[in-house]
Amino acid sequence: MDIFLQQLINGLVLGSIYALVALGYTMVYGILGLINFAHGDIVMVGALVTLTVTQALAGSGLPAPVILLIAACAAIAVCILLGISMERVAYRPLRRAPRLAPLITAIGISMLLQYSAALIWGKQYMPMPELIKTDHYAVAGAQFTGLQAFIFLLACAVMAGLLWFIKTSRIGQAMRATEQNPDVAGLMGIDTNRIISFTFLLGSALGALAGVMVVLYYGLGHYFMGFMLGMKAFTAAVLGGIGNVPGAMLGGMLLGLIESLASGYIGDLTGGVLGSNYRDIFAFLVLILVLVLRPSGLMGQRVSDRA
């Protein structure tokens, strides 16, 4: 079996998930200059809602795709509601406050979501019912499943749609204007508060979708799963250049690839001292390297035009 090709495939799938989550960090940062640390927990809620709905409908006799579609819609709806309320209740009153205030608030909301989830769903791992039989395909010494292909293609389609939306739609133009200068955007007739709400809506919907993918892929959910996933996606956003939408996509994919490839070879490289369970160190190694070598990220904006 070709380890390189295999890890490449795994990395693209993992990267798709990171990219979707990273978009939520980057869009909110772009428009508010805020690192929404609670975003990873939105993904967790999306994942657990998906699990709950699937478990409830697993015995209903509905076809698997229909169950998954219902679960995904439920997850997206719940996450959108959470994301919009979070902005409205917690961040909006702090819009003109010193930067530290919304940051600490974000950490508070993150904990609030985690412990609420622990109360609602318990602290144990929740299993995903086996709905679809996975079919394997082989390519040049490596193999991938239909599910992997599905996750990758869906993520690519969603991201292409997002880029097109931001570039051409009226709301997309308003998002870009608000991001560049909220006061002047208001003078143009843009209701910037609605645009900010909408940004949270988009980020949360993408996060929910990532949550659905995570439970499909790993078959498990847990109230604390949003923490590590969130940190990784945040790293991906920083890698791509935080605030930059295509950057988050690129950063997510790259981070997924780095992590997969590195964990595929770490055993060989360290003579078996470190196993692939040390994969998490790579993301943070990347974060530190980016912050030291190129803090604005791969596609980051020059600082001058953010003045």
């Binding site: 870009r176 002047v184 003078l187 143009m188 007739g189």
Partner: protein, 234 residues
């Protein structure tokens, strides 16, 4: 058209505008002059809803508009060309101009107005697809004015449109301001270049550390010894 009564603006503990009265009648050109830090920009920010005043009332077409958000005021016909131009640096010239018409839905009229802006500023037409951040200062000012016109304002507020521009460009901008006024747009012009402003406008207000110290016709202000000494450099 615009009536301001007892307007006070503050930032934290700093009082920037300390209770001013100001009127602009339909079709008038009015200028507000004053030294750095007098409170001119703060006044315009309050008028356009960018900064909530701590007290006072603003009436527009006999309706109170105090502390309404900017996006509502644009829809009622108030536009501001902000201090420092405020172009969207990472949008193209074309996209900036389109943003100016964001509050409108009449597509054909928007296209026609866009052509008029390009006719007014042929330089912008040549640079349609260029990022606004790469334009020269004068071109950015043209863009800011053209963009403001795209909302079809009845009342246009301009904050130091001549700031940082070479004399030739200043001349061009003031010519444009005359042309805009000739089309029936009411103007409130904030300027450091007091002489030019008073030559173009009907009336003027002089602002000093947050209060209005003089209000008169432009010709009277131009011959006022105090004004001549303090603002016309004589």
């Amino acid at each position: 058209m615009l009536e301001v009564r007892g307007l006070k603006v503050a930032y934290g503990g700093i009082n920037a505008v300390k209770g001013i009265d100001l009127d602009v009648k339909r079709g008038e050109l009015v200028t507000l002059i004053g030294a750095n830090g007098a409170g001119k920009t703060s006044t315009l920010k309050a008028l356009t809803g960018l900064h909530k005043p701590i007290s006072g009332h603003i009436y527009y077409n006999n309706n109170e508009i105090t502390a309404q958000p900017p996006f509502r005021l644009v829809r009622q016909g108030i536009a501001l060309v902000p201090e420092g131009r405020g172009v969207f640096a990472r949008l193209t010239v074309e996209e900036n101009i389109a943003m100016g018409a964001y509050s409108r839905v009449d597509r054909e009229q928007i296209a026609a107005d866009q052509d008029r802006v390009y006719a007014l500023f042929p330089r912008l037409a040549e640079r349609r697809r260029q990022l606004a951040g790469t334009l020269s200062g004068g071109e950015q000012q043209m863009l800011a004015i053209g963009r403001a016109l795209m909302s079809r304002p009845q009342l246009l507020l301009l904050d130091e449109p001549s700031m940082g521009l070479a004399p030739l460009m200043v001349h061009k901008i003031f010519e444009t301001i005359r042309a805009i006024a000739a089309e029936g747009v009411t103007l409130l012009l904030v300027e450091q270049n007091a002489r030019l402003a008073l030559e173009v406008c009907h009336r003027g207000y002089v602002m000093e550390s947050g209060t209005i110290t003089l209000a008169d016709s432009a010709t009277a202000l131009l011959s006022n010894p105090q004004v001549r000494q303090a603002y016309l450099g004589e």
